[in-house]
């Protein structure tokens, strides 16, 4: 990806000690994201996408071991002090989580949570902060924002709570917003509204955004670049258009084919991916996808493929047998 990078993740690895041994949640990931661009991170549960976002935010569990560098806006977050991080997270780095019920404080009103954030981080007086809070709620599509300030999270629907969480995340004009499965807990009609809202605010504020999801359909129309993760590693990365035009990694293709589509006839057998993701406490020598891959040969089981350049610009994939355009395999 071209342009000055706002965020660059350099060889980041995250290890978690568990009762069953060391769990490598993120395995040497490199990513860059220029200001004002959107990156989709796609993968199934346990692929490390959430741990990666937590590594970027420096919000890893205490026991986790992080290696590598996370450069954000010219600073290495890994070596920042707790106080510096707090300031950064307040002003430039924001996050929206999957479940708005757990990210909002249930015993404080929406108004308190929003106004407090504004006063604390932007040094606003109470009446200015209040006015700004109302504007923000209106901007994220909440009807009757004045009245909502007095309400508690449980009095709102899931979609409305997620809008409030987005309003809080946007309140200090962040440079980067990380949205971690922001619509997974929501209905499909509400999902579309929330994704539209995020896209609109991202463009309007020219902020960079990382959209984490398990659904390739969600990233397709709403990101500039996509990184596909499997077993802790990025296995394919490309500009969104290029990726959907030509997938190189069999896993990406399999993930897309496994989604039921509206234009296929009922009772068509779905091309399922056999087996399941590997146990992250038992690393595999070769390609992590090889036990489920129908193209796997001996080399795939012995040797780990690294991200290599495809013919198209900025397209990288980690596979010894990338898919050809025709759907066959190359050598």
């Amino acid at each position: 990806m071209s342009g000055q990078a706002l965020l660059s993740v350099e060889s980041v690895a995250v290890d978690l000690p568990t009762a069953r041994g060391n769990l490598r949640a993120v395995d040497h990931v490199d990513l860059t994201l220029p200001a004002g661009r959107t990156l989709g991170i796609v993968g199934e549960s346990g692929c490390g996408k959430t741990m990666l976002s937590r590594a970027i935010l420096q919000l890893l569990p205490k026991k986790a071991k992080l290696s590598g560098r996370v450069m954000f806006d010219g600073r290495d977050l890994v070596s920042c002090s707790a106080d510096q991080l707090r300031k950064l997270r307040a002003r430039s780095l924001a996050v929206v989580f999957q479940d708005p019920m757990t990210s909002l404080n249930p015993v404080l009103t929406i108004g308190t949570q929003l106004i407090e954030t504004l006063q604390e981080h932007l040094d606003l007086g109470s009446s200015t902060a209040r006015k700004r809070a109302v504007d923000l709620l209106a901007a994220v599509g909440i009807p009757a924002p004045e009245q909502r300030l007095m309400q508690y999270p449980h009095q709102l629907s899931g979609g409305m709570r997620q809008r409030v969480a987005i309003a809080i995340a946007l309140s200090c004009e962040p440079k980067l917003l990380i949205a971690d499965e922001p619509t997974t807990a929501l209905d499909v009609t509400i999902q579309a509204q929330i994704l539209d809202l995020l896209a609109r605010e991202q463009r309007r504020r020219h902020m960079a955004m990382i959209l984490i999801t398990h659904d390739l359909g969600v990233v397709a129309g709403r990101t500039d670049e996509v990184a596909v993760m499997y077993a802790g590693r990025v296995v394919e990365r490309a500009p969104t258009q290029a990726l959907f035009k030509k997938m190189h990694m069999p896993y990406t293709q399999a993930l897309l084919s496994a989604i039921p589509k509206l234009d296929t006839a009922p009772h068509t057998r779905l091309p399922a991916i056999s087996g399941r993701p590997p146990d992250p406490t038992r690393p595999i020598d070769g390609c992590s996808f090889s036990p489920r891959c129908r193209y796997a040969i001996d080399r795939c089981r012995r040797e780990k493929p690294v991200l290599a350049d495809a013919e198209t610009v900025d397209h990288k994939y980690a596979c010894f047998h990338p898919l050809k355009l025709s759907g066959g395999i190359g050598t």
Partner: protein
Amino acid sequence: MMQDGALRGSIAPLLRVENLVVEYVVGNKIVHAVSDVSLEIARGETLGLVGESGCGKSTLGRAVLRLRPAVSGRVLFDGEDLTAMQSDALRKMRRRVQLIFQDPIASLNPRRRIGDIIAEPLVIAGVKDPSERHQRVCDALDAVGLDPIPILSRLPHEFSGGQCQRICIARALVLNPDFIICDEPVSALDVSIRAQILNLLEEMKARFGLTLLFIAHDLAVVKAVSDRVAVMYLGRLCEVGPSEQLFAKPAHPYTALLIEAIPVPDPDVRPNESIPVGEPPSPIAPPSGCRFRTRCPRADQKCRDEVPPMREVRPTQYAACHHPLS
């Protein structure tokens, strides 16, 4: 009065729901969970039931089994009225109907072994011979693609979500039921596992001649397995029709909205940002007339005043709308 939407011309449907009403009392308010719903499922058919959370689709599924009491209406299973049945007869009838839930891990008792979990329905049904029970448990596990012997004495936490859902399906199959209600069976599963489970359900249906009520909020998932689809909104059915036809030519504006909202995995398809939006109103005080009118771009005074009846808009496709899409 019986709604036409239910009358599908099937002479002896396996399940027939007539004007079913289910309400809950919360504090001093009444939640209108299912309001005057009628439908039929033919033998060997899969009926998909879709709608957003809170629309009453799960309540409808449970009310069919009388796990929720109905305020009024009838449920006929294989010609017999479940709503009027005494508890003994009901218990016998329930052997023929099984349920599969959304969260496969939560629906297995964490302290019991897989073999005992699957044998439980047999014990309740009075199968006394342990070797017969063992055989039937093994057959059921085998059918869902699990190797029985190594897992009989293991506990649920040793299995992944997808495997737990296979175990739940095995438990549902062990009594050789005629009818299975699947309530969001794949929505807690990952994409790659979801396809495996959907394929498995289809195989089981063909192999054991099952009839399915498949409840889900994901239209594409529902379409993949259903012969006909019923769309529910705020306690009422909006539209019923053959899957392919319903998705190709939705007649009810709500069905169209649901289809419109599905994210398409193709970057050349720009997301439609003009979806008529808003959220469903509360089922405690549903809107008068057509319940969808508060979100509907076509709503007018008639929609406010009159509940739209189910009408046949195209052969075998029924919609409850004053201004159906053509």
